[in-house]
């Protein structure tokens, strides 16, 4: 993931900006299959608590991950803005990721992204691969591969 950022200087990548608490996060749009509204989640016993359970997505049963709990934040509060983002990556099974809200789609060029300088291995709950600067705010770009690793 990190290598991708350094390769092409003028590359523009689209990110979906999501909100968790007061912070903005970005997920590379190419991994996003779908964004669905909150729906009934069936709880599954004996799995880590960051798994909220499973949902029915057009006949497929998909697990739902709480990004909040996975990042060590407080329990989700379900509102009308809560969304489930369906992530499909080659190396992982399809999964739904629950977020507080979905804000917008932004185009970020490589120049607008600052790579993170700290060692993330030692920092549990940190899945950033870079910080994007967009208009007035900062967007933490999530390394979804890292998020889904070792679930």
């Amino acid at each position: 993931m990190a290598n991708e950022l350094s390769t092409n200087v003028n590359e523009i990548v689209q990110y979906i900006v999501i909100r968790i608490g007061d912070e903005q996060y970005g997920i590379d749009i190419k991994y996003i299959d779908n964004i669905v509204r909150m729906q009934q989640i069936t709880r599954v016993p004996q799995v880590p608590d960051y798994f909220k359970g499973v949902i029915n997505l057009r006949g497929e049963v998909l697990p739902v991950l709480s990004l909040r709990l996975k990042m060590g934040l407080s329990q989700d509060e379900i509102t009308k803005d809560t969304r489930i983002i369906i992530i499909k990556m080659e190396a992982h099974e399809a999964i739904g990721v629950m977020v507080d809200s979905v804000k917008e789609v932004v185009n970020l060029s490589t120049a607008e992204i600052e790579r993170v300088g700290f060692d993330r291995d030692g920092d549990r709950g940190n899945y950033a691969m870079g910080i994007g600067k967009h208009e007035d705010g900062l967007i933490t770009l999530l390394d979804m591969d890292l998020v889904l690793q070792g679930l």
Binding site: Q40, R43, V47, F51, V54, N56, V61, P63
Partner: protein, 715 residues
């Protein structure tokens, strides 16, 4: 056209013929004189050779050719079958199988010439003291005799062919070049599914020897399968007619090929020549005893030839009567279709979707209240149609386990020789049917279990005699259907499992403490055998005892939602039984509510449902049990197991679902029952499979997801 598109057919058929050969050679060992077995073997070997040849696999062809020579000698009665010969034949079959596997993996036959085996095959031929050339020559001669005979009578379909100007010119050119011109008519078997493929292989076989000048129907029509059961060709070649005809006949599913020098419209001299040639052949092959005039009564010696001559008059008539009359007198053809399993999978998925849609319709209708009786009737009708549809699709996917188990007699024979331990495998219920995907998967586990029985289970002959058992050990493989399950048992009359030794081993390995080991009952100890790397064999042999085996068996069977059970009696033998569900995707389930959440329990695992008063609960060893009509049954509070809280009034009667696993029972306390429902099992993916007693999820009529409780995992 490219030959590679026939690779799949080639592989499929080669495997079938190899399996056939293995079984037949095994029969031959038991009954060396059986003429039917011998012809069967010869036929299969001959076809295999032809197929390898047309596909261009020369090494495989050479090996099968030499093997065919041996079978041919046996068939002629010049060679007696003996144990040493059977051994060589088996090794030869293994080598061919290796070719086929290599071809499957790399599309190339590899570069192993298998010379030692070829030498041994030739040694067998030489030992009988006669020239090996004679018999193989006699066999095709016997086949051509009636063929030539029939063509002489019919006049040959190729003579009716009209050549275009270019074709005439090509023919003249070929004649100038001193090539011979033959007219050939090829007859395809009626059961042939891919006639164009066969025709293509025929073309390819002919093109090795010469060139095709003209074809009737045209080459394009033949490639498009626009012909009935025969086509005619005009060939220019330097080879002689027999070579061409034999090359054509070596293509499988070709019933016959007939030919004569081609003279265009003038048929007379051709017939003359055929007659002469045939007379010659008859002299060469006294066994065939071909009578020049009678087509029907030729050579009852060989079933193969006899069959062909029987068919011939029919085909001749058909040829004369031209296209339409062909249906008359047609023997019943095997009415089967080969279908790619993926197509069946997608059909199955669609049926699953349909059932979900149906369920949702049912729940909509129910929640809408009594919307009129007409609607309910239609829904019931839909329900019965979908259930029948599901059953039909399931049946299509069912295949007999025979395809897997038929290789085992050969395997046991090899093990018996290798270990010097006489043993016999008895099989029953090979016709038992299971889902194709399951059948594909159970081969390996069964093989492990049989090897285990042969290697560890059965004692050496001296030991058996000392115990008063028959010297020859017996292994049984029995399959039968039991309700919604199929049970496959592997049983031996060997020494059984020494539970004490397993116990000692468990302590030695630190799997259990001494106290635990002695507190555990026998079945718990025996179950240790299914743990990874737990082998009690004193000696590690080639076959088993390396600690890979039973654990693999268990995980494989469990992956198929099945279970493995062992029963053993020291000194008398061991029985491993595998229990597999008939269907994997759609099951009948009991829907229950626990803590406000809906769960499904497979109906096949449920014995009864009881109402139990809380005051009937007793405590034994700090575990809750009930005494149900004399049977003490442990209770499981599902709300605790599922990490939720029961919403039931603690004082009221409890609903207890009595689940059974083998002969063990357990009572699952649930809050309430919803009812029985047909559900489609959906996988939850690897993130969610950490929970052992949840075997999957299903989508209910209202779109909600309900988890499926695996009652077997709870007991």
């Amino acid at each position: 056209m490219d030959v590679s598109q026939y690779l799949d057919i080639f592989l499929d058929e080669s495997k079938e013929h190899l399996q056939n050969l293995n079984t037949s050679v095994l029969n031959l060992e038991q009954d060396p004189e059986n003429p039917e077995t011998i012809s069967e073997i010869f036929r299969a070997a001959h076809t295999l050779k032809g197929m390898a040849g047309t596909m261009g696999y020369k090494r495989m062809q050479t090996l099968t050719h030499d093997m065919e020579n041996v079978f041919s000698e046996v068939r002629e009665g010049n060679l007696k079958v003996n144990a040493a010969m059977v051994d060589v034949l088996f090794r030869c079959l293994d080598a061919i199988e290796e070719y086929v596997t290599t071809i499957q993996e790399t599309s190339d036959e590899g570069d192993n010439d298998n010379e030692p085996i070829i030498k041994e095959l030739n040694a067998i031929l030489e030992n009988k003291g006669a020239a090996p050339e004679e018999a193989p020559a006699a066999a095709p001669a016997a086949e051509t005799a009636p063929a030539a005979d029939a063509s002489a009578q019919a006049g040959g379909a190729w003579n009716a062919m009209e050549l275009s100007e270019e074709e005439q010119k090509a023919m003249e050119d070929a004649m100038m070049a001193n090539k011979k011109i033959f007219g050939v008519t090829v007859y395809v078997q009626e059961s042939c599914l891919l006639k164009a493929a066969r025709a293509f292989l025929v073309f390819k076989a002919i093109e090795e020897h010469g060139e095709i000048i003209a074809a009737n129907p045209s080459t394009q029509d033949i490639e498009d399968e626009k012909f009935e059961l025969e086509f005619s060709l005009v060939i220019a070649t330097e080879a002689d007619l027999d070579t061409i005809l034999n090359a054509i006949k070596s293509v499988s599913e070709i019933a016959d090929a007939k030919g004569a020098p081609f003279t265009g419209a003038a048929a007379e001299p051709a017939v003359q020549e055929v007659k002469e040639e045939k007379a010659e052949k008859a002299a060469e092959a006294p066994k065939a005893e071909a009578k020049p005039a009678a087509t029907t009564a030729v050579t009852p010696v060989k079933t193969e030839v006899a069959k062909k001559t029987e068919k011939k008059p029919q085909q001749e008539k058909a040829t004369l009567a031209k296209s339409d009359g062909k249906k008359t007198g047609k023997p019943a053809v095997n009415r089967t279709v080969r279908v790619d399993i993926e197509k069946l999978d997608s059909l199955m998925n669609l049926v699953s979707e349909l059932i979900i849609a149906k369920n949702s319709l049912v729940s909509t209708a129910t929640s809408a209240g009594s919307a009129g009786n007409g609607l309910n009737e239609q829904i019931e009708y839909l329900e019965s149609v979908t259930t029948n549809l599901h059953e039909s699709v399931m049946k299509v996917r069912m295949v007999p386990i025979e395809s897997v188990v038929s290789k085992f007699p050969r395997m046991i024979r090899d093990i018996s020789k290798q270990l010097n331990k006489p043993m016999e495998l008895y099989m029953s219920g090979e016709e038992t049917e299971l889902d194709r995907t399951v059948v594909d998967e159970i081969g390996d586990p069964l093989m492990h279990m049989l090897r285990n029985s042969a290697d560890h289970g059965l004692e050496m002959p001296e030991e058996r005699l000392a115990k008063g058992k028959p010297e020859c050990g017996s292994i049984f493989l029995d399959a039968y259907q039991d309700g919604n399950n199929v049970v496959i048992e592997v049983r031996d009359d060997g020494n059984g499992i020494d539970v004490e030794r397993v116990r000692q081993k468990a302590i030695e390995r630190g799997v259990m403490t001494e106290e635990q080991a002695y507190a555990a009952d026998d079945s718990e100890i025996i179950n240790l055998l299914f743990m990874p790397s737990f082998s009690t064999a004193k000696q590690v042999s080639d076959l088993s005892g390396r600690g890979v085996g039973l654990d693999v068996v268990k995980s494989k069977i469990e992956a198929l939602s099945g279970e493995v059970d062992v029963k053993t009696k020291l000194g008398e033998g061991t029985t491993f039984s595998i229990r597999l569900p008939l269907t994997l995707a759609i099951i009948q389930a009991l829907m229950v509510v626990v803590g406000g959440e809906k769960y499904a329990i497979a109906l096949s695992g449920i014995q009864t449902i009881e109402n139990v008063s809380p005051k009937d609960i007793k405590t034994v060893e700090s575990k809750e049990v009930i005494n149900l009509r004399g049977t003490v049954i442990p209770l499981l509070r599902m709300d605790q197991i599922l990490e939720t809280h029961s919403k039931r009034n603690p004082g009221a009667d409890m609903v207890v679902v009595i689940a059974k696993k083998g002969d063990k029972l357990a009572g699952l306390i649930v809050d309430e029952l919803i009812g029985q429902q047909e559900i489609v099992i959906k996988s939850m993916g690897k993130y969610m499979n950490k929970c052992k007693f949840i075997s999957g999820a299903t989508i209910l009529g209202d779109g909600e997801v309900a988890l499926i409780i695996d009652s077997n995992a709870l007991i």
